[in-house]
């Protein structure tokens, strides 16, 4: 469905991701790794926010390596960056409505579904996104991505900086959305323990290269921690 072959990318003169190959099926693929491993760069490259330097990305049988970010969105790939993931001067409802720029279902239906998943957003729909708490902001970002009716969701550290309560709510919602909509998810995370609970497979990055790719149920925390320290 989503296939990455020998992917390479980076910023300026610095090569961050090298020779990375993997596929994503109907599952949650967790991308783990220490700080600086290249998780954020990988997801930004998959979303085409930064260009592919080498290799190829194939989505539903078509090469999308050269497609701009807005094309990927139209083809059903939604991306939630780690930072700057809401429009601070727009209200919650306006932020969510921007998610409905793609897709064919009525906007109101999609809004109702997102408000059902995140009741807190319904309570704050007239509030400026810039005035939300960190957890509410992450909910809004994930909610807006779900408004896109995606088939593949790229989530970059959605739990970063959140309290344990919000992390639980967020992971629970991601799992529910995955089950009810059959969305494939690539989830980059630092919270390894929580991620192992919901992921189907785990890809561990080390210095921009793949160190390990295996089913989550076969992976113990001990092995995972060892992989982090390579």
């Amino acid at each position: 469905m989503f296939d990455v072959q020998n992917l390479g990318s980076g910023y300026g003169d610095v090569q961050i991701i090298s020779e990375l190959s993997f596929g994503v099926g109907n599952e949650i693929l967790a991308v783990l790794g220490a700080n600086g491993a290249g998780k954020t760069t990988l997801l930004a490259t998959l979303a085409k926010v930064i260009p592919v330097r080498s290799g190829a990305i194939t989505w539903q049988g078509q090469d999308v390596s050269a497609s701009p970010a807005y094309e990927l969105s139209k083809r059903g790939i939604a991306y939630v960056p780690q930072e700057g993931n809401v429009f601070p001067n727009l209200s919650v409802a306006e932020n969510l409505s921007l998610g409905a720029l793609v897709g064919t279902r009525p906007k109101e239906d999609r809004l109702t579904e997102v408000y059902d998943l995140f009741p807190r957003l319904a309570e704050r729909k007239e509030q400026r996104a810039g005035s939300l708490s960190g957890g509410e902001g992450q909910m809004l970002a994930v909610g807006r991505a779900l408004m896109q009716d995606p088939q593949l969701l790229l989530l970059d550290e959605p739990s970063a900086g959140l309290s344990p309560l919000y992390v639980d709510i967020l992971f629970q919602t991601i799992t529910e959305a995955r089950k009810s909509r059959e969305i494939s998810i690539v989830l980059a995370e630092q919270n390894a323990k929580k991620t192992l609970e919901i992921a189907d497979r785990v890809l561990v990055l080390s210095l921009g290269r793949m160190h390990l790719l295996e089913a989550a149920k076969d992976l113990s925390m001990k092995r995972l921690m060892k992989a982090y320290h390579i």
Binding site: Y70, S73, K74, A78, F87, N89, E94, L98
Partner: protein
């Protein structure tokens, strides 16, 4: 009365320019410092077509529209991929090119000699200026209504989203470059057409009309009024151009000796008002916001330091007048105060 109608018509032109800039900068974040370039292009194009080619007002206006679309699209294509600083420089350069072309292309523009006389689109005896004013009023009111509706529309929200985070907006499925290009061209064409409509008002065009101060006046008005507010442009132009250029410069009872000072005082007061608004209401008169406490503290310390510095300069100047042979400050107190001012600033 005719002069009042003329200045009020000019005020409307400035409101229109500020509204167009509001779309570009207030909604989209494009720093167009070439406002006078687009305005001057439209004005001179109308003049050349009417005077040199003897075209009717309507035919000339149509050709100005076509020309302005082509030029605005070309400018958009050149500058919209650049970073904000480069966009700013490129648009200033565009205005400078238009200004230079007006001087050098004498075969069309008559250069520094000037180009005239440009006719009104209609003539009804003594009421022509009044009718033209009403026409301009209708145009600017229409433009303001468009801006108000744009603000509330999903398109307006999209423009603000692009301004706030273009990368994120692109990942939501919008070709942001196309959206920016469309609205940049619309606003630039409006500036050109307002230039074309200014030509009959001025009747005789000279290169010294295309000066950067037009751009700066529009920018100051927009920032004062509130760049992000749909009515900021109107309020800003009334507070600057309306208050100073019309009310004070034209109608204030000033003695002939002081009359010479008024234009310079106007610039001084413009600057003072701009500083006050930027300090106390950074987002403009119509955006109700107050800076947080730490900003107030910085403002207070900067004000105290600036006051001390000014006092030191004044003291030094006074001493220099009293002791013309002494190059250094007459007493050490001034130097100490100067040090104090520097400390305060740091």
């Amino acid at each position: 009365m005719a002069y009042l109608i003329f200045t009020l018509s000019l005020l409307l032109i400035y409101v229109g320019l500020a509204l167009a800039l509001h779309i570009q900068f207030g909604l989209l974040g494009i720093a167009n410092f070439g406002v006078v370039g687009f305005w001057g292009l439209g004005m001179y194009a109308m003049g050349v077509l009417q005077v040199q080619l003897d075209m009717s007002f309507v035919d000339a206006l149509f050709l100005v529209l076509v020309l302005s679309i082509a030029v605005s699209w070309l400018m958009g294509w050149l500058v919209l991929r650049l970073d904000p600083q480069a966009t700013l420089c490129a648009t200033i350069a565009f205005a400078a090119i238009v200004s230079l072309l007006v001087v050098t292309e004498k075969w069309a523009t008559m250069g520094v000699v000037g180009l005239g006389t440009i006719r009104y689109p209609f003539r009804i005896g003594g009421g022509t200026e009044y009718l033209y004013f009403a026409f301009l009023l209708a145009v600017v009111v229409g433009l303001q209504i468009l801006v108000l509706r744009l603000h509330r529309s999903p398109t307006g929200k999209l423009l603000q989203a692009i301004r706030d985070n273009e990368e994120l907006c692109a990942s939501l499925g919008k070709n942001t470059f196309q959206v920016k290009m469309f609205w940049f061209v619309i606003a630039s064409v409006v500036m050109c057409l307002l230039g074309a409509l200014s030509a009959p008002l001025n009747q005789f065009l000279t290169p010294n009309m295309i000066v950067p101060s037009v751009t700066f006046a529009v920018w100051i008005a927009l920032i004062l009024g509130g760049k992000g507010h749909s009515l900021g442009a109107v309020v800003g132009v009334f507070v600057t151009f309306g208050l100073f250029d019309i009310l004070i410069e034209t109608y204030a009872p000033v003695s002939p000796e002081l009359a010479v000072v008024v234009p310079n005082m106007k610039l001084f007061l413009y600057g003072l008002l701009l500083m006050a608004v930027l300090i106390y209401r950074p987002t403009g008169l119509l955006a109700p916001t107050t800076p947080p406490e730490h900003v107030w503290a910085e403002i207070r310390s900067a004000g105290i330091a600036a006051g001390r510095g000014a006092m030191t300069l004044f003291q030094n100047g006074k001493n220099a007048i009293q002791n013309p042979n002494t190059n250094q400050p007459a007493d050490s107190t001034a130097a100490q105060e100067n040090d104090g001012a520097a400390d305060g600033k740091s």
